[in-house]
């Protein structure tokens, strides 16, 4: 059903120029920057992006759990003047372990002071609808993950919300369970058996977004912005193997890989990392693994991200940081949804352990200014040692405490692997003496 074609889609929620930052003000803790969004009736909208892109923050702003630092979230009243109600499904299910399934589902009704008899009828109806019959008296710990998320869903829809917010609802489930739940939800939606007028779903699974959504907003990270808006007009039910479906998935991968190169190359110079760049904690093993995978047949040095994600069973949240870390060290280029290995990484793939370390050390010192900086200071000092605190403080001038910590952990891990410097956790100290 092509709901997007409906002529008079009434808007439910209007998000105007929302920005949000955590902790100290300023650019350091900013997670959302100037986001606009309108949610209409009868559509499923996906927020797609990586962790740190602020999509969960946006969802919580709409839920009323967070008040954004700037901008406004408006719930637009319908013809009778009542504003739309919202309800949320959580990634972690967020069930009360001391309440039974029935009591969990009744929770929202209880808060609304619905009389007990009516509460029970409505809760049982919702449990029935969502396929949990027979589990009314079970405690959450007795249920499987899929069943628990069904409880979460029943609890969310029993209060008759006009807007259902879903925060990565299927990412804590195994592949099969997630697929069943998705299909069931789409069936209920298509048959109009839920009172819900619109669904907003946060995900980092591209296929899931294409499978479910009428519209996808792709978020960029640090800070989160809407990078692209994609209308999905494939008819439901959709088939993952359908060529247009695949084409759309590839297209989204391309859009998501295109962005990081585009931003820094404003002044013509290639994408550069500075001291102030936040680094992701990516294991050198994962980087080596990806290089080997792309280097080998059938990819032979160039692979599309969509295929990689498929063959490695990685979600974009896992795949993108690795690919970007490779790009950061000039081991790979990301463009048009493809990963293309550079000569240095092809050399890396065929090298032995010590050569690999040497290649990695070279790349690290050449392309990661923070590693360079630490090494230079260690070289300059007579003691060849420097407290990590000092670098953390330096980083905190540019980024939030959490990011500074993470960045330093990333560089420590890489530096240790490359044997560029050593780190002693007990003394929180960088040094040049590697135990031999």
């Amino acid at each position: 059903m092509a709901t997007t074609a409906a002529p008079a889609a009434r808007p439910l929620v209007q998000v105007d120029a929302v920005s949000h930052s955590y902790g100290r003000s300023g650019a350091a803790g900013q997670v959302l920057e100037n986001v606009d969004l309108t949610l209409d009736e009868n559509e499923i909208v996906g927020l797609l992006g990586r962790s740190g892109s602020g999509k969960s923050t946006l969802l919580r702003s709409i839920a009323g759990l967070i008040r954004p630092s700037e901008g406004e979230v408006r719930l637009l009243p319908d013809a009778t003047g009542t504003p739309p109600s919202v309800s949320m499904v959580f990634q972690t299910f967020a069930l009360f372990p001391w309440l039974t399934v029935l009591q969990n589902v009744e929770l929202g009704l209880e808060a609304q002071r619905v009389p007990p008899a009516e509460r029970r009828t409505r809760a049982l109806a919702a449990i029935d609808l969502i396929g949990l019959d027979g589990f009314e008296n079970a405690y959450p710990k007795e249920l499987s993950g899929g069943m628990r998320q069904r409880v979460g869903l029943a609890r969310a829809i029993v209060v008759n919300p006009s807007l259902l917010l879903m925060d990565e609802p299927f990412s804590a489930l195994d592949v099969l369970t997630a697929e069943t739940l998705r299909t069931d939800l789409l069936d209920l939606w298509a048959e109009g058996r839920m009172p819900i007028k619109s669904i907003l779903i946060v995900t980092h699974n591209i296929e899931e977004a294409v499978l479910m959504c009428d519209r996808i907003l792709v978020f960029s990270s640090n800070p989160g912005r809407v990078a692209a808006e994609i209308v999905v007009d494939l008819p439901q039910p959709r088939d993952r193997l359908d060529p247009p479906f695949r084409a759309l998935v590839d297209d989204i991968y391309a859009q998501m890989t295109a962005r990081p190169v585009a931003t820094p190359s404003r002044d013509g110079t290639p994408a550069g990392t500075t001291l102030a760049t936040a680094l992701p904690v990516v294991s050198t093993n994962a980087m080596a693994g990806l290089i080997e995978e792309v280097d080998a047949a059938p990819f032979d040095g160039t692979a599309s991200m969509a295929e990689l994600a498929d063959s490695l069973q990685l979600e974009i949240d896992e795949l993108f940081p690795i690919a970007e870390a490779l790009q950061l060290m000039r081991f790979a280029d990301l463009a048009g949804g493809d990963v293309r290995l550079t000569p240095s990484s092809r050399q890396y793939a065929s090298a032995d352990v010590d050569q690999r370390k040497a290649i990695f050390a070279q790349a690290l010192l050449a392309h990661v200014p923070l590693a360079q900086h630490i090494r230079r200071i260690l070289d300059d000092r007579a003691s060849h040692a420097a407290p990590a605190r000092r670098f953390r403080d330096e980083l905190e001038d540019h980024m939030s405490e959490d990011y500074a910590d993470e960045t330093l952990r990333a560089v420590t891990h890489w530096g240790r692997y490359a044997e560029v410097f050593a780190y002693d956790e007990d003394r929180d100290l960088f040094s040049l003496d590697n135990p031999t």
């Binding site: 967020a94 808060a111 027979g134």
Partner: protein
């Protein structure tokens, strides 16, 4: 789905139960137990209301037939104090968790009160409460209950506060998303989440409480001696009369008492609290309790729960706060208010310091302070040596037990029982031994300090050893890791976090126990070990308030410094490096 329309736990309407449910055997047993409990409470309560003069008319007598009555009075004091601690916890800890300003004062205060020698305060509180109810037993009762309260409340409040602060964020978002009112949120989310921690701490508190109830029933302050009917007074009299048989009776009564309250009170509560444990997967073993199972099997007695549940419902009905769409900015307080608040706190601090210095300084000189510090060092030395010795003994034993699940299962309750048993009841035997063999009190009184507290080390080590992952043990045995290497690289690191918890509790308890352990008597023989404990005890007997205050202050400083400088860093290290994630 019709089958399940009544949840098993729900209590049906009153009339319905009467009509449909015939009582069963479980009802009968439970009814007799409960009725007995009610009668005992009433009888005990009547005694409390009598005038003080009755105590001299019917003084405590060493007649075994009186012992159940004394035991009852002692137990009632314990539960009164527990109730007071619970109310205190719910009010104060909730305040601390809800208000930032209250938090700034309450949390450090609790932290310090947790580690301060409570026995020393007895002197002040007895005088206060006796003035509050002149000529009434109630005054002295209150003082005794207050003494127990001070040994129970702080860690319960602290645990509750920590639970409230660590409520899972997703559940909190659910309650905010649904617009649960503060009352409802408390009953539905915060209280249930905090219950397991609260129950565990209440149990620990009760264990500590027995120690203080024995010490606080027969109180001598200056010229006044009051002996409330109870096991503590019985013991004091037995010691005064040098009656070893009577002491043995007291030990037996204490054992029975602790066993009973454990089986009838705490086991059922622990079994019940298990459902509130925050975990998403069912755990392999659940704590069981025959008493709890009995009450669950009853049919008619569920009626007793009706008023309780009704209260809960009433509370929920009462609060009619509108469920508004909750969106607020991160709480920002006005800077002026903040400054004013800090000024008030600072002023109060200065005033308090001035008050103490003025009070103590009027009668005491610097020499007294140095004396107190010298004694404190002696006691410190004792605590360190004893904890080390106790560790050397109990760590290997605890590890041995912990690695054998069958033994651990059987011995863990025994260790907990021993920790609950008030060691001061056993002191007379130690004194007898010292007198008979002419031992040096300075050395041989010391073990009494850890007599009651060493068990914390044992049962924490057992707990730690029993959760060493099987794969770690298998790996160790595969590579032939044995002997000292096994201890160094497998057992000790694995139990270290648990050991620190146990040793911290044990050392805190030992400081406290020093007040009663460093100065003991048997009839007219007084044995004393030089130390801060005996310093405080002597000052108390002499009614020398400034010295008592000085002694307590010195001990507090030592305990807090010891915690900060030794245990905290060890704890942090254990958390960072040795936690088996």
């Amino acid at each position: 789905m019709k089958v399940a329309s009544f949840p098993a736990r729900a209590v049906r309407p009153f009339s319905r139960i009467l009509r449909v449910t015939p009582p069963n055997l479980a009802d009968l047993i439970a009814f007799v137990l409960l009725a007995g409990g009610a009668v005992m409470i009433v009888r005990g309560a009547v005694g409390v209301a009598e005038p003080l003069s009755r105590l001299s008319i019917t003084p405590v007598a060493l007649d075994p037939w009186n012992l159940p009555w004394y035991a009852l009075r002692t137990t009632l004091r314990m539960f009164a104090a527990l109730l007071a601690s619970l109310v205190f916890t719910l009010v104060v800890a909730t305040m601390a968790a809800r208000s930032k300003r209250a938090e700034q004062i309450i949390v450090p205060a609790l932290d310090i009160l947790q580690s301060v020698p409570i026995l020393g305060f007895l002197t002040f509180t007895v005088t206060f409460f006796m003035h509050l109810f002149p000529g009434q037993q109630l005054g002295v009762e209150c003082a005794a209950v207050f003494a127990i309260f001070t040994s129970q409340a702080w860690n319960m409040a602290f645990s509750f506060y920590q639970s409230l602060r660590s409520v899972p964020s997703d559940l909190e978002e659910v309650s905010r998303g649904f617009g649960l009112s503060p009352m409802r949120r408390f009953l539905r989310l915060e209280l249930p989440f905090a219950i397991p921690g609260l129950v565990w701490n209440a149990m620990m508190s009760m264990s500590g409480g027995w120690f203080f109830v024995v010490a606080s029933e027969a109180i001598t302050v200056g010229n006044t001696t009051v002996a409330l009917p109870g096991i503590g007074s019985w013991l004091a009299l037995a010691i005064q009369r040098q009656d070893a048989r009577a002491v043995a009776w007291a030990v037996g009564a204490m054992g029975v008492l602790i066993l009973l309250y454990d089986q009838l009170f705490f086991r059922p509560i622990v079994a019940w609290a298990d459902r509130y444990r925050f975990e998403q997967t069912a755990s392999a073993e659940q704590p069981g309790s025959w008493a709890y199972d009995l009450f669950r099997r009853t049919r008619l007695l569920k009626l007793l729960m009706v008023p309780l549940l009704g209260c809960g419902r009433m509370l929920m009905m009462l609060d009619r706060m509108p469920a508004a769409r909750p969106a607020k900015r991160d709480d920002t307080t006005s800077p002026i208010g903040e400054i004013v608040w800090k000024l008030i706190v600072a002023l109060l601090l200065v005033a308090a310091v001035w008050l103490i210095v003025d009070y103590v300084g009027r009668t005491l000189s610097w020499a007294d302070a140095f004396t107190a510090i010298g004694y404190a060092c002696l006691t410190l030395l004792r605590v360190i040596v004893l904890i080390a010795v106790a560790s050397l003994i109990w760590v290997p034993i605890g590890v041995w037990i912990g690695l054998r699940p069958r033994w651990a299962e059987r011995l863990q309750p025994v260790a907990q029982f021993l920790a609950a048993f008030p060691a001061n009841v056993l002191f007379p035997f130690a004194v007898l031994a010292i007198v008979r063999w002419h031992l040096s009190p300075g050395i041989w009184l010391s073990p009494l300090m850890v007599l009651g507290t060493q068990w914390y080390i044992l049962f924490n080590v057992i707990a730690g050893a029993s959760v060493i992952p099987t794969d770690m043990r298998e790996a160790a045995s595969m590579f032939g890791v044995k002997g000292w290497q096994w201890w160094r690289s497998v057992a000790l690191p694995a139990i270290f976090p648990y050991y620190v918890t146990g040793a911290l509790t044990a050392s805190g308890g030992s400081w406290n126990a020093s007040i009663v352990a460093e100065a003991v008597s048997w009839g007219d023989r007084h044995l004393e070990a030089a130390g801060l404990g005996s310093y405080i005890a002597d000052a108390t007997v002499a009614g020398d308030y400034p010295r008592v205050a000085l002694g307590i202050a010195t001990m507090s400083v030592f305990v807090i410094a010891f915690n900060r400088l030794v245990w905290r860093p060890m704890y942090a290290f254990a958390e960072r490096r040795l936690r088996l994630a």
